[in-house]
Symmetry: C2
Subunit: 534 residues, 2 copies
């Protein structure tokens, strides 16, 4: 089983994606996750290009303890007609104090002549000098050959000369970059094979792709088949434009389907969890459709086939989802058949009869018509099913609710906003209908309406239902359905919560965002208060 090294550049190239910013703390947390997954190299950033990245490498030395991965600092070759020993980029690179560094080198004639405005001789010298300088400072040196494929198609002699300049000076890796992302698999296969025949075993050939043709994963595979031993990419395909090679896709393709070794034993099972953890850290949901790690990757919807799939999963799933830490999911929707509902009831652990199943199917149809979707709201689905069999106690009953948001005089330019909520509930040790039930009126301020109603509801019930204090909201998502009717559209709220051992998500739907949030909030607290067997 040939080894294919995994080089993760989520923290450098990945953060070029539009709309994502990461703090130094975020980057340290992500690096820990990457080490936990077991990639060979973690490219942490470009010290000097960015003050954050200097801080990252400084803190990494004391705060980051990697057991599997090697941390890499990124930089570039010296500038044209400059010297290595007074080059700020190279100095920053050494000051990052990592055992390995990766430098980007222009390996396409066009970019040397036009972008650098220098000669091909100087272009090759920049590479040789820089590798020599970093090697003599004791670093392992990987070289990212920028615009390699486009350059090779234009002038293969110069692109190979750039490679030789790096190899002669002791670069460990020659990483062929499809910088503009436009190369297709058959071209990658041919060019990597050419380079391999020149380089032999003098250095490891790497591949760095972008997904501009939707082929980054296939290109990386083609390169490995043609002799590359090192793949660069990002978790979840983060990266500028269309993103970099998605490591969460290419790793299982190579390791589970093609017999290569990418991660240490026992690590690929962590793929789904690490993918989601990193996405959360960057506040960017994993695409539900993402291969291997997406929530829909092993979801079966069609009601008719669910029982056939349950009998013989491997006839309907291209790999065992557990191999990458994901799982089969039977999606319950209005198309769900009776068998699906029965299976879900078994999964939850409730007894359900035929009439109750019909009730659940009717409820699902009505609610999905209103815009509810239970695919992402397991707790609301479980409550719906438990209510159908009558196993949900009434912990509290709301009489009324009001929330007021004020912008105080001062106008849009300067007015301060304040929000307060009032909630009136019936509650008691024996439920809202018990003899000892009481009416509680609570008021709470919040930094927004949902925050305020959450605070007021908790205050109103906390004395009678103290366990509510152990429930914490962890995520709040808003989706506008039928955006075309703008502010009059239906709003779908998903609210996630935890009690420290379990996580759950509930849903609320209404044209009124406050009402939608309120429905999701009530379900969330009720679900968290349900007695648990274990």
């Amino acid at each position: 089983m040939r080894l294919v090294e995994v080089f993760d550049t989520t923290l450098r190239d990945g953060l070029q994606v539009e709309g994502v910013t990461a703090t130094v703390d975020d980057k340290l947390r992500i690096a820990e996750q990457l080490d936990h997954l077991g990639v060979h190299y973690i490219e942490g950033g470009w010290p000097g290009a960015n003050p954050k990245d200097i801080e990252f490498f400084a803190r990494a030395q004391t705060e980051l303890s990697l057991s599997t991965s090697t941390l890499v600092a990124f930089g570039s070759t010296r500038r044209p007609r400059g010297k290595t020993d007074d080059d700020a980029t190279l100095r920053n690179l050494l000051e990052a104090n990592t055992s390995a560094v990766c430098i980007v080198a222009k390996s396409a004639e066009y970019h040397v002549v036009e972008a650098l405005q220098t000669t091909l001789d100087e272009g090759a010298a920049m590479i040789a000098d820089s590798v020599e300088f970093l090697r003599s400072a004791g670093r392992t040196v990987l070289v990212d050959m920028e615009h390699f494929f486009d350059g090779y198609k234009q002038n293969p002699e110069f692109s190979l000369r750039a490679i030789e300049a790096a190899v002669v000076q002791g670069a460990s890796h020659l990483v062929l970059c499809d910088t503009n992302g436009g190369t297709l698999p058959h071209e990658v296969a041919r060019i990597v094979a050419d380079v391999k025949s020149h380089v032999g075993d003098d250095a490891i050939i790497g591949i760095h792709c972008h997904d501009d043709t939707g082929c980054a994963v296939a290109n990386s595979i083609a390169a490995v088949e043609a002799g590359a031993g090192h793949i660069q990419g990002t978790l979840n395909g983060l990266g500028e434009r269309t993103g970099n090679t998605n490591l969460t896709t290419v790793i299982p393709n190579l390791q589970l389907k093609m017999g290569y070794t990418c991660l240490p034993d026992g690590r690929i099972e962590r793929l789904t969890a690490v993918s989601h953890h990193v996405a959360e850290t960057l506040n960017r949901a994993v695409d539900p459709q993402a291969p291997y790690v997406g929530s829909s990757a092993f979801a079966h919807k069609a009601g008719l086939h669910v029982s056939a799939i349950a009998r013989a999963k491997d006839a309907y799933e291209h790999v065992a989802p557990e191999a990458v830490g994901n799982g089969t999911r039977f999606v319950v929707s209005e198309m769900a058949g009776r068998a699906t509902i029965q299976m879900k009831a078994d999964e939850i652990g409730i007894d359900i009869d035929g009439q109750q199943i019909n009730q659940v199917i009717d409820d699902l149809k009505r609610l999905e018509h209103e815009g509810y979707q239970f695919e992402a709201a397991d707790a609301s689905l479980e409550l719906l099913m438990r209510r159908a069999v009558g196993s949900v106690p009434e912990f509290f009953r709301v009489e009324s609710m009001r929330v007021i948001t004020d912008e105080l005089p001062g106008g849009i330019a300067g007015g301060a906003f304040s929000t307060e909520a009032t909630v009136k509930v019936w509650v008691g040790p024996n439920g809202p209908d018990g003899d000892d039930a009481e009416r509680h009126v609570s008021i709470a301020e919040g930094n927004g309406p949902v925050n305020a109603i959450d605070g007021a509801l908790r205050k109103a019930i906390e004395r009678a239902v103290p366990r509510v204090a152990g429930i914490h909201l962890t995520d709040y998502k808003v989706r506008i359905l039928d955006g075309g009717s703008a502010t009059g559209a239906t709003t779908r709220v998903l609210l996630s919560a935890t009690d420290g051992t379990r996580d759950w998500t509930t849903i609320g739907v209404s044209p009124n965002i406050i009402e939608a949030s309120w429905r999701a909030l009530e379900d969330s607290l009720v679900y968290g208060l349900l007695p648990r067997e274990s």
Copy 2:
């Protein structure tokens, strides 16, 4: 230039994606878009599996006038041990009254024996009988060979026999389906070449992939290179699990990079518009990272390189974005250099001096730190830049605002929600500071807080600024930043509007969703009221 037919199954397989439902009206509108794009075949649905789809084909006969595409009804072979002439599925297929039909046929031993519980002889007979029946009714018959690649790896003889059964009876197309989506490009290339050598020119070989390995596009290309002349897929890669082959990616790969002809002349330029139109109809945004058609596909972020890119776009873009109806976008962000701001000012048509550019860069840094992002909010960016040069008139000034949401007694189970907003503004024919300015207090109800404040603000200013009536909000999006702090998190609102000729988007950010919406709403109205040169 060899022709590769495009078969779109957005309306059938694509609608299996989780979270999407389409009305018959939606489907008719999408079919019009597909015809406008110029695909060869539009698979409209499965009449009989779904009452909606029977209605779709009925209405299509009178309401859908296709100039380029052929409408196809989908179905399956007759059931095991049944007869064709009393088979409900086949009857529904004929009643759809399309000139071409596509039937799914089990072509893998496992699925014939285990899922159908029948013999291989009967499996082959089901295909032959069904094709013969439909052919004798005058239909062009395409056959989707289900689980073909997995079946071929298990028992190639039976899979080829299934193909022969279809060919002998006159099927026009043999569509090889990677139903579980687990096949990789080198396997597709080998198996398609095998099939091609058996079939020759007796029928067109098609390819139908799913993206479970992230290789659906590369697999489709590999199949075409091995002899397939027909690709099936969906717009934007819609489809169950990880989605079907994304036609918006594979078409430009084949046509712009490999010299095949997929669409009639002059149509591929419509790709981006059709992709977004279909996504909007299904209320599902196009992935900004989507190759070719995504909003980030040709976006350049790194401030340093923007001027180099502007000089020589083809050195930094793998195809001309205009070829697919997209465009280059220079992303303005805190990383923006002075050159980017200057270019943006030129684009908008304002004069800006060095000090004003510094002001804009400072404002961007501060606001992006708060969570603003101007990448998707061009109008807010333009206002920010126009304010820096002092060219935004003050149309109205808000003194204060209040919005109240009440749940009336009746409780969570039954309480009705009502929302009302009060807005106090200064406004006048010569602006809020004119001698003739007046204070207006308006109140409006709404089906949610944002709807109510929109109504109240418009009422308050409409007499003094009647042009506001021509501005309509078209979309409202809410994103929770730092979801980890749940209902206390920062909220980002994007609000889109139109005046019938122009569309624009503004942004508001605040921990308070009402405040964030209010900021976006004010900017939206101000932008719409700006005088236009043209």
